[in-house]
Structures are given as C-alpha cells and as structure tokens.
Symmetry: C2
Subunit: 412 residues, 2 copies
Amino acid sequence: MRQSELFTKTLKEIPKDEKSKNAELLIRAGFIYKEMAGVYSYLPLGLRVLNKINNIISEEMNAIGGQEIFMTCLQNPEIWQKTERWSDEIVDNWFKTRLKNDIELGLGFTHEEAVTSIMKNHVKSYKDLPCYVYQIQTKFRNELRPKSGIMRCREFLMKDLYSFSRTQDEHNNFYEKSKEAYMKIFTRLGLGEKTYLTFASGGVFSKYSHEFQTLSDAGEDLIYVDKNKKIAINKEVYSEEILTELGLEKNNLIEEKAIEVGNIFSLGKKYSEPLGLKYLDEEGKQQSVIMGSYGIGPGRVMGAIVEVNCDDKGMIWPKEIAPYQIHLISLAKTIEEKERTEEIYQKLLSLGQEVLFDDRENLSAGQKFADSDLIGIPLKYIVSTKTLAEESIEIKERKTGETKIIKIADLK
Amino acid sequence: MRQSELFTKTLKEIPKDEKSKNAELLIRAGFIYKEMAGVYSYLPLGLRVLNKINNIISEEMNAIGGQEIFMTCLQNPEIWQKTERWSDEIVDNWFKTRLKNDIELGLGFTHEEAVTSIMKNHVKSYKDLPCYVYQIQTKFRNELRPKSGIMRCREFLMKDLYSFSRTQDEHNNFYEKSKEAYMKIFTRLGLGEKTYLTFASGGVFSKYSHEFQTLSDAGEDLIYVDKNKKIAINKEVYSEEILTELGLEKNNLIEEKAIEVGNIFSLGKKYSEPLGLKYLDEEGKQQSVIMGSYGIGPGRVMGAIVEVNCDDKGMIWPKEIAPYQIHLISLAKTIEEKERTEEIYQKLLSLGQEVLFDDRENLSAGQKFADSDLIGIPLKYIVSTKTLAEESIEIKERKTGETKIIKIADLK
C-alpha cells in the first residue's frame, strides 16, 4: 500500500475524553475512530490488525473442531425469558430496541440462548454429538462508563465458541483442549509470556471458570500470580482453600493488575435444560446436553497488545499481526532515486511481502520516522541517497532500534 | 469437510410463517436459521457462501481503489440531526436504543453521516482526494413486514462504499468505473446475464440513480427492460421523457419483476455540506467534497442467486460461490471400499479441492442424493461398489444432470 494513497493520516489531536493509552495511540496513528465512549470504528490499518487477530483465532478454533457460524445481533425475548436473562434487573447491561409493532427486542451481549435454540434443529441423537460451534460477531453491552479504550466497549467483536457434549467427561476433555488452543492463540499474538491461566469464579455447574489474564497496568482485574508455575488466581476467588487445592504457596504469589483477554466456562445444563436441548442416548433415553462457552474479544486483545507493546514513540506490533510487515520509507530525492525506490517496492511485493510504502512527498525524514514509530510496523526499510549509492537498504527494527545494511540484490 | 461431522442436517420442516423460496430452501438445507421475521443466522454452509460473495465484492472494490474499514452499528444522534435524518418521521425504519443515562442512539441503516464524520479527520487538502472507502458490515432496518426471506431483512450485511471527489467530473469518472465493477461482480456471481443496469430516481444532486436489477418473479420491483441494449428503467421513473433521453423505444421494452441487487447514488454535497467535510483547493479556497454511495447486500445477493438457480429438488450454486465445489458421495459398503473412498477424499483435498464428503453411515443412496440436490453443490462425485470395481468415479452435474465416468488415477 502506498502511504500517499492511504486515506488516513496520523493525528496530533485526540478526543478530549479519551483517557486510555491504547485508544490514544490507535487514534493518533489512524487505526481507529472514536464514535462515542466505548464505540470505535476500525480504519484500514486497524482493520488489517483486527482481521489478522480474527484469522489466528479462527485457525485455532477450526483446529479443535470448531464450525463457524454467524448469529444475529437482534435477539428474540422468548428464548431469554426461558433462561431468566431477559429482565434488566437480572442482566444490567442490555441494549434493547423495539419493532414497529412495539415488541421489544434485545441486542445480543452473548449468544448461549441463541446457539442453543439453533442446535435444537440439528441435535437429536448421541450420534450428533459432541459438536463445537463458534462465531466472530458483534456484541453490545450497555456499559455505564467505558474507560479502557477498545478493551471495554459498548459495541465490540467477540469470538464465542459453544461446546455441546454428551457427558461431563467428554466436556472436560474438550475444556482442557480449549485451554491449550487459547494459550496457542495468545502465544501467536505475542502475548504468551505475559498471559496466565487464571482461576476465576464458576457458576452453579462448576466450581471455577478460567480466565486468560495478560499482565498490564492498564488491566481492570487484580490477580495473584505464581510465575514459576505459570498459573494465577483472580482476587475474587482467592482464599486459603483454593491455595491448598491448587498446591500453591502464598509466598510465591505476586499481586498484579491484568487484562482479561479470554475466558472459558463450564455451563453444564444451565441453558440446555430450560431451552430443551436434549438428545437420545444409546439406551434411547432423553438427556440434556452438557455445554461450555469460550470467549475471546479480538478488539480487547488488540488493545492489550498495544498496552504491553508500546513506548513513548508509539506502538510496536508483533510480526504476525502487524498491519504490514515492512514499512518501506523513501528518502529519495531525485527522479532516478525515486524510480529505484519504486523498483525496491515492486520487488518486495513480488516476494509476497506486505509493505506500507511511505512514498509521500515534501515530508522530512524526521516526520516520516516519527509517523513510522507511531504506526509501529516491526521493520523499517529505509532507502536514501546514501543507501542507494551503496546499492543497499538500511533495515531498522522498531522494537530494538537495531539497524543493519543489506544489499538490494540480496532481497529475497 | 466430513458430512458426518457437519453439525447441520437437512430439515423436513420449515417455520410456518416462511413464505419465500430462498429462505425455505436455505433453511431446509441447513444454510441459515430463522431467528424471527427478517432476521436470519448463517450456519456453516451458508456462511461459506456468504464469505465467498463478500470476497468477490471486496476484490472488485479493492481493484477500483476502495480502502476497507469497519464502522459501528451504534450511531450518535448528533451527526444525524445535522443532516435531518434523525427524526422517525423523516426516516421511518430506524431501530433506536438507549444508553444507561437515557441518551437515545440509533442502529445504523446506512453510514453516510458516520463515514463523512470520519473523513473530516483525514481530508484537509485537494491532495487528500479523491478517496474511496468501503465496509462490509451489519445494518438494521425496522421493516414493517419483511417477507422476501434473506432478500429484505431487519438485520443484514451490506457492502457500502463511499466516494469522495473534488469535482463533479472526478466523481462522474469514478461513478462510471463503479458501474463496470458492479457488473463484474454480478457476472462473477453468476447473475450477469439476468442483471440489468437500471435507471431509478435520483435526488437533489442528480437526476437519476442506478440500480442493478436481477430478473426474477421473486423480485419486489417492476422494471422495463430493453434486452438488446442491456438496459432497464425502474417503473418509478418511467416516462416518455426518459425514453427519449436514453434513446429507447417503448415497443422494445418488456415489463419484468426484478430483485434490486445493488444501487449507486450521486450524493453531491448533500452530506459534506451539513457535516462540514471540506478541502482546500489548489487556489487555497475551501470547497465541499462531492460524494457518492455504492451499495450491495451480500445476503440479498445470496437470496437472489437461490431464486434464479433452483429447481424442485433444491438449490444449484454457481461454482465460484458454492459452499464446496465437489460433493463426494460415498456409497461404499465394505471396509475396503470405504478405505478406498477415503483415499479419494484425501486425494481431492491434496489437490486443493473444496470437498463436502458424505461419509454418513446407514443412509440410502436415495437419501444422500436428495440431500445433495437440496444443498446444490455443482458437482457430485459418486463412489460405489460398481465405480470402484472399474477404478473410477461417476461425476454428475447438479445443474444439467449430465454424468461422466473418470478413472481415479486421472484425478488432477
């Protein structure tokens, strides 16, 4: 992509009410636009990152047998009344709206009820189970005061997978597999080292749920971390009892602020029973399906990545999700130099590289470098009168600032 | 994909209130699920088709310089008040909702106001123009009585592109390019022959807008078609005057029912003026940007494709957007036959083919063929005791019913 054609520019000003680091940097770099508190649009560079995060999540969900679907935002009250989650007194963050005939609808904040209803058409017998269904889709939560940028939104994308199993064992087996898939995802997203499997509060059907918490001062959660055992406990369930259960020692735990980047829940029959999702077992007896739900917010993950990968100059994207892998920066002056830089751009494209080409005219080297540091593409390829005189390119790593010189002829 | 693992099944029953052919077939084949009138979820086979349609649209939008973004459903009233489109008396299909502090928000039915606001951050000078921005995103329209299946929904995906130009000439130039891009899209989607560029009513800033209308009895529009000149006039603007203008003769026109699969509008300064989207021209004078908007509903297109490509047995997908290109149907009986069929499946996958493999046990050939006809994958590859005895596969075209036999060794 030629930066001269990219419609977004880096900005000096950000909205006055924006307090979070992630949104500040993403807005200044032209990745997102703030529609209102907790509601952000994604611009081309931001959408490229978001799509790469989505692709990684999808790949890992497919790898454990997930089948992708796409459910609706508009929610029929009937199914939510059956599980007693329709009332605003029980669920306090509904957005609701009305049809012309005044029937009230909800905007989905999650999809257990919806997916369970769909499955009733397709699950009849033990032969139809287990199955795993997921989507990457827009959710709505009527937050009172969203203040963590794209990490806590009123409207946001969510990957939500739902598992449908015959027995508790079959469920537990998948639940463990999902933990591994989640850690793979966070590792691929560059958050592996800072992300801890964290015990959190369960529900009627399970003692604990599990969160994936990424250490960061921008986090809204407090967790107790055992760094050696790579495990953590959310403050909300911390007790002597859980220490004993997990074989952890109080002295080895450190209190840390963290961002919840994912969570997984055992749901038991909480939704299958009231909604009537049953199957005939091998003996011909009707049984309720055992369910689980598994969430990751791609936008929140993107915000977390910015929070833990930035410095005073801007963002630093991990290679696999950077909007482009290479930021080719032209400091060419003469027509001939510009033509040679263009050839390098074409060469990189022909090698299958993703390149943002700063071909903008009338900007100083300093302005181009400052924009590049803010945008945070992992590698700068700098082409100038000096490097061209030596048939070379200067390569500078955004993260470390390390530079090296390579010959143009050696590009491969 | 193994059909034994695909969680959706073909269904005998469809919702009682479903009157449209497209939704009936898509529901029976397990492509979609009806949440309520005009609100449908996409299941794995349906989502695969939808994504393929989206990809074709994206490719052609990128080819004419479109830059992809992703705006929000939640809409801030302020910007809509400026263009006088907030009031329910002026726009009668808003869905509205409320924040906790009782401020009313809208659910976007289109995004001219939103995109114009975003562009104000990035367009300052004539050097920043022209530019073209699009998204594929969920829209909401509070339809009184949706009745055309996935062709007229209360919640639906839309590709909306917005153009920003300096002069009317520059705008017209892109507008003509967009017509060609649209016809390319409909041709790739298999709708080329039945789809007509159609003159429709314009607005304050242009005499006409243009629709792309696909001939079908399921259509809600009436158009007058000149089949030789490959052009049409929407009944709403039909007059002696337009006939003269377009050089058409009344006698060459046939009245047809049609589905509006796309539309393009010249907007002039309708949105840029009230929202203050201006640029400094080469003489340093402030000018309002000239805009256009360009819509295609991928779901509606999918519905239209079903309507014009079906028979009494089910759907018939064009190759480029079929959920899978090949439906491999196993009629193998012995373990050895099953193993050999499995080898054929693996061979096809290794050749990069998209294959739905009907490996289900205990179903008759008749049941498998009926399901396959309903699902509508373009080619059946049938493997049976008989074909295996001859080291071959029977290939049957869904559309024509033509069959041929090929040797397994010749698969490539």
